[in-house]
Amino acid sequence: MAKYISLRLLQSVFVLFGLSLLIFFIARVVPGDPARQALGLLASQEQVERVREQMHLNDPFPVQYYYWLRSLLRGDLGVSSYTRRPVTTDLRQYIPATLELILFATLISFIIGQVTGVLAGYFRNSWFDGASRLVSYLGIATPSFVIAILLLFVFSQLLKLAPGIGRIPIMMKAPPTRTGFMMIDGLLAGRLDVTLTALKHILLPAFSLAVIHIAQEGRITRTSIVETMQKDYITLHKVHGIRTGRILFKYLLRPSIIPTVTVMGLDFAFLMSNAFLVETVYMWPGFSRYAMTAMLNKDLNAIVAVVLVIGLTFALVNLLVDIIIMFLDPTVRLRQGGA
């Protein structure tokens, strides 16, 4: 298993290397002068020329890439032309907020998706199955920005049930940053009010993110429950007199959950991209909104960094999913263990 994991890590490194090459290439061939963009229109031609030299823009592409890769390996991603700060500093500041949001959304979607999927599959062709099917179609077909706008409109503006935008109100003094997760930092600082306010603030954006995944996971789980229920072994479990509850929650659930977990890696990718929109709508001060701002302002260093961070996260999540699958599915585990 250790061998398998290290092999996978090696593959990921290779893919990330390719990704950096791709994104760096696109960033360098775009029309326009990165140096001019970094300095702004007011800079003199000599200043631009000096920066071009610093950025190795006058060298051929492979040399440029070499310099860039060298500084990347030193942990230097360059300076953001928009915030005028090192990109790594920006990332460190913004990533925790997005992580908090995404993890919360994953949790919501996994729990609700599983429960509805299992119920819809077990009571298939019932009214519940029909209703959840309809809702899941809608969930899949609705872009996340539409969901975000609608939820914000209905729950915050019309019903005034939830606070609107941001992580906590501007007036509120934030607790000292330790984990970067507002809810946990509040607890650590002994400020329950911060934790509660943060929880209220995260509900709408997290739910906006989760809707699509609730729909998707619910649907996959349902299909897989229906398929598993037709297997001989489930029939035999029934015939052999195993309790219905045990069949449902043990023998039916475990094999049916595997396809859902398998697509969770892919789901996470969509979660990360949808976070771009949701954070924009809710003014969530996180990584995705930073990325969005970078893109709208052609902040090349930041764009490249953002893409790489997402690629890295995606690779790690997929590895994690594979490991979970190995624990759930002995067939996979034994095959990998033997190989």
Partner: protein, 298 residues
């Protein structure tokens, strides 16, 4: 002799018709898929006929009439008007034109290379050809498509062509991966082996023997992907990286309307609904096709 060929043709035609009838039966078992098909037909029709049936075709361009600005829905303006007095219903119809066109063009640009590369890699599995193609595919798949499309469009000038190219660029790898897995199992089938033994060219084997057998999954995936491409297109427009105003993109209209939300709800809700409906239609049809072709992993 001629009668015999005629009879054969007739039999083949009857078989085809029976298959079609069977396919339609399976498709129509799911009423939702039938509804999806009907809705899509309607959308395509109004999109094509938009210049003739839109009440105010002129409003799809630069046009201002502040006297009619910010009107709620009425018999005169079904979906109301936006802040500079343009008829949202007319703009939505034209928005559909762009969405459908972008979807079709992106798939046309992305699917062909993806399928060809996938066929090659699958058929030549275990050679350097497969390694190169599939590793490059992996690189493109290493980031969610929306993020890559956003990053690429962000670095280019936002316009229709660049938007389509960016989405197509992140779309082909999905097809090369799909066709790769199909082709690498099909190449061991008897009919492929037989063609190899009779000395058929690689072109013949790839496109005449293997490709036709990949048709069902490709078709299903394309239908589902039309919905996804439109979703991504509207997202790009929403953040301002799509076709530029005053041309009507549904995503842009939602974004514009969202700024004036509680009061002028119609200017965002209707375009948003329009997006949801067309994506929903493609998803429903895709699901129906999945049942007909009995394909699972698409």
């Amino acid at each position: 002799m001629r009668d015999e060929t005629k009879a054969n043709l007739l039999a083949a035609w009857r078989q085809r018709r029976r298959n079609l009838a069977h396919g339609w039966y399976k498709y129509s078992r799911n009423p939702l898929s039938v509804i999806g098909l009907a809705v899509l037909a309607l959308i395509v029709l109004v999109a094509i006929l938009a210049p003739y049936i839109a009440p105010y075709p002129g409003h799809a361009k630069a046009y201002t009439n502040f006297r009619e600005a910010s009107q709620p829905p009425s018999a005169k303006h079904f979906f109301g008007t936006d802040r500079i007095g343009r008829d949202i219903f007319s703009r939505t119809l034209f928005g559909y034109r762009f969405s459908l066109m972008i979807g079709a063009v992106v798939l046309a640009l992305g699917v062909a290379p993806g399928v060809i590369l996938g066929l090659l890699a699958g058929y030549r599995r275990g050679t350097w050809i497969e390694v190169v193609i599939m590793r490059v595919t992996d690189v493109f798949l290493a980031v969610p498509p929306l993020v890559l499309a956003l990053a690429i469009t962000a670095m280019l000038t936002p316009n229709l062509l660049n938007q389509m190219m960016a989405i197509a660029l992140v779309w082909w790898p999905w097809y090369s991966r799909l066709v790769f897995s199909l082709a690498s199992s099909l190449r061991n089938e008897y009919f492929v082996k037989e063609a190899e033994l009779t000395g058929a060219s690689q072109f013949h084997i790839l496109f005449r023997e293997i490709l036709p057998n990949c048709f069902a999954p490709i078709m299903t995936k394309m239908t589902l992907d039309m919905g996804l491409v439109i979703l991504i297109e509207s997202t790009l427009s929403f953040v301002g990286l799509g076709i530029q105003p005053p041309k009507p993109a549904l995503g842009t209209m939602v974004a514009e309307g969202a700024k004036r939300l509680p009061a002028e709800w119609w200017s965002t809700i209707f375009p948003a609904l329009a997006i949801v409906i067309v994506i929903l239609a493609f998803n429903l049809i895709g699901d129906g096709l999945r049942d007909v072709f009995a394909v699972e992993d698409v």
